[in-house]
């Protein structure tokens, strides 16, 4: 009886000792399997969309490829949507989420975030001859904006009273207004500005100042300190050697800002 109890206790102790070790190191699991599974968007260009050959392409896909290369493992892309990207991570269907993920307190309770790897901000953009560096410089100027968007709400709060805000019905009308020269300044997201630059207009929009900054982070499960360190190291290295800047130029038409 005593021996059986002792044996059961030893087994329980062994199981307990096993439990944290078995869960702890996703990085070791990845290195052992030689494959990293990364969730990427398929419905949000330029971060992730489906190319002509039905293969995923975009900023996030290129970043995933860079990180996999730095870690020395093969890349397996898992297409996700905004709704299921975090559940896929927490149920361990994927190891990382690279899907234009923004950081906020509700999400920080559930997952961990790496350093930022992509700029995602709302700001005022304009032609080169508009001398605007901060919101006060908008006095007496005309700015185009999409009605009801975050930029509209934020700009209406802080713009000087002599600034004229022209509200258009959707992003396409705002882009048309800028391209046709009806407005010299637009307040919009950097993704929309990238879409304008892609049209190769005679006067390219430059970033004047930011309204709201919400850069993109890589999402990981909580408690994976080794994997977090590896991802951050990969991001830092690709920023330093210019590879990440190349991705930003390719998909957003602008260089990576000095601080993300």
């Amino acid at each position: 009886m005593k021996r059986r109890a002792l044996f059961a206790a030893a087994l329980a102790l062994a199981a307990l000792a096993q439990a944290p070790l078995a869960h702890a190191d996703a990085l070791a699991d990845i290195k052992k399997a030689g494959v990293i599974k990364i969730a990427v968007p398929q419905d949000f260009p330029p971060f992730g969309s489906v190319g002509g050959d039905l293969k995923p392409v975009g900023y996030d896909i290129d970043t995933a490829a860079l990180i996999a290369k730095e870690m020395g493992v093969k890349l397996e892309l898992v297409p996700v949507t905004s709704a299921n990207r975090i559940p896929y991570l927490t149920t361990k269907k994927v190891d990382l989420v690279i899907s234009s993920l923004g950081k906020n307190p509700e999400r920080e309770k559930v997952i961990d975030f790496s350093d930022a790897y992509a700029p995602f901000f709302n700001g005022v953009f304009g032609t080169a001859d508009e001398k605007v560096a901060k919101v006060e410089d908008l006095a007496g100027k005309t700015i185009g904006v999409t009605r009801g968007a975050v930029e509209d709400l934020e700009l209406s709060k802080v713009a000087p009273p002599t600034a004229t805000i022209k509200r258009f019905e959707d992003n396409n009308a705002t882009i048309s207004a800028f391209l046709s020269g009806q407005v010299q300044l637009v307040a919009t997201g950097n993704v929309v500005a990238a879409a304008i630059i892609a049209k190769n207009p005679p006067k390219k929009p430059e970033t004047k100042f930011l309204i709201k900054n919400s850069p993109c982070y890589v999402g990981l499960n909580k408690g994976e300190a080794a994997l977090l360190a590896a991802v951050n190291a990969a991001i830092a290295k690709t920023r330093q050697n210019g590879a990440l800047n190349g991705v930003s130029q390719k998909w957003l038409g602008t260089a990576l800002p000095a601080t993300l």
Binding site: G144, R147, D152, A173, A177
Partner: protein, 222 residues
């Protein structure tokens, strides 16, 4: 119905609505007056003008009547700048409304001109009235009396069509409604209120046309 109505929130945005109503009335007033003037000129050209003028006006009428107002508006506001003509949103809105109403009213007024009895003109000539006098008193005014209900309907359509000008950021009533809805998301209340306002404006515009018909055209107040 489980929906909770709340019209009180709209009162805080009354400035936006008042500005929208004012701009709708302004666009309608300028658009209709200039549009009817273009219509009279076009109708006279098509009815009594030389062949080349009839062809040009005919092409203009067909082009405008067979394309959507929104497309014409976008062409003038977004397209013309590529050819060097950059118009502000109010100028573009008024220009499009005048061009649009001009085409439709040309045909409406031409119907009135064409239904002038030849005997009327012969009688006027035999009274030694000059050409312009004949046109003004014997042809045009009776013609306008005949087509006045149709013309006032077309002008009401143009007034309701000014709602489309919100698409180029002209801050008229529909823009005001969209703006308020994007701030407080009370779509039902906002669009119900703007519908009622448009209805009131349309009824008022029709009454104004009846008054003009009575006192300018000497129509009977039936």
């Amino acid at each position: 119905m489980g929906y909770h109505f709340d019209f009180s929130d709209l009162w805080g945005y009354r400035e936006v609505f008042f500005k929208g109503i004012w701009l709708t009335l302004f666009l309608t007033a300028v658009g209709c007056s200039l549009g009817i003037a273009v219509g009279i000129g076009g109708a006279a050209s098509r009815q009594y003008g030389p062949k080349w003028l009839r062809v040009i006006v005919g092409a203009y009428v067909e082009a405008i009547r067979n394309t959507p107002f929104l497309v014409q508006l976008f062409f003038i506001f977004f397209g013309l700048p590529a050819m060097g003509v950059k118009l502000g949103e109010l100028q573009a809105a008024i220009l499009t409304m005048v061009v649009n109403l001009g085409a439709y009213s040309t045909e409406i007024i031409r119907a009135g001109l064409a239904s002038t009895h030849k005997g009327q003109v012969e009688a006027a000539e035999s009274l030694a009235m000059s050409g312009p006098q004949i046109f003004r008193h014997v042809i045009l005014v009776p013609a306008l009396r005949r087509i006045w209900p149709a013309l006032s309907s077309q002008c009401v359509i143009v007034m309701l069509g000014s709602a489309v000008c919100s698409q180029i950021s002209a801050e008229e009533l529909t823009f005001a409604a969209n703006f308020v809805a994007s701030r407080n998301f009370r779509n039902f209340e906002v669009y119900l209120v703007s519908t009622v306002i448009y209805l009131a404006l349309a009824i008022g515009l029709r009454y104004l046309f009846r008054v003009i018909g009575r006192y300018v055209l000497k129509m009977s107040w039936e």
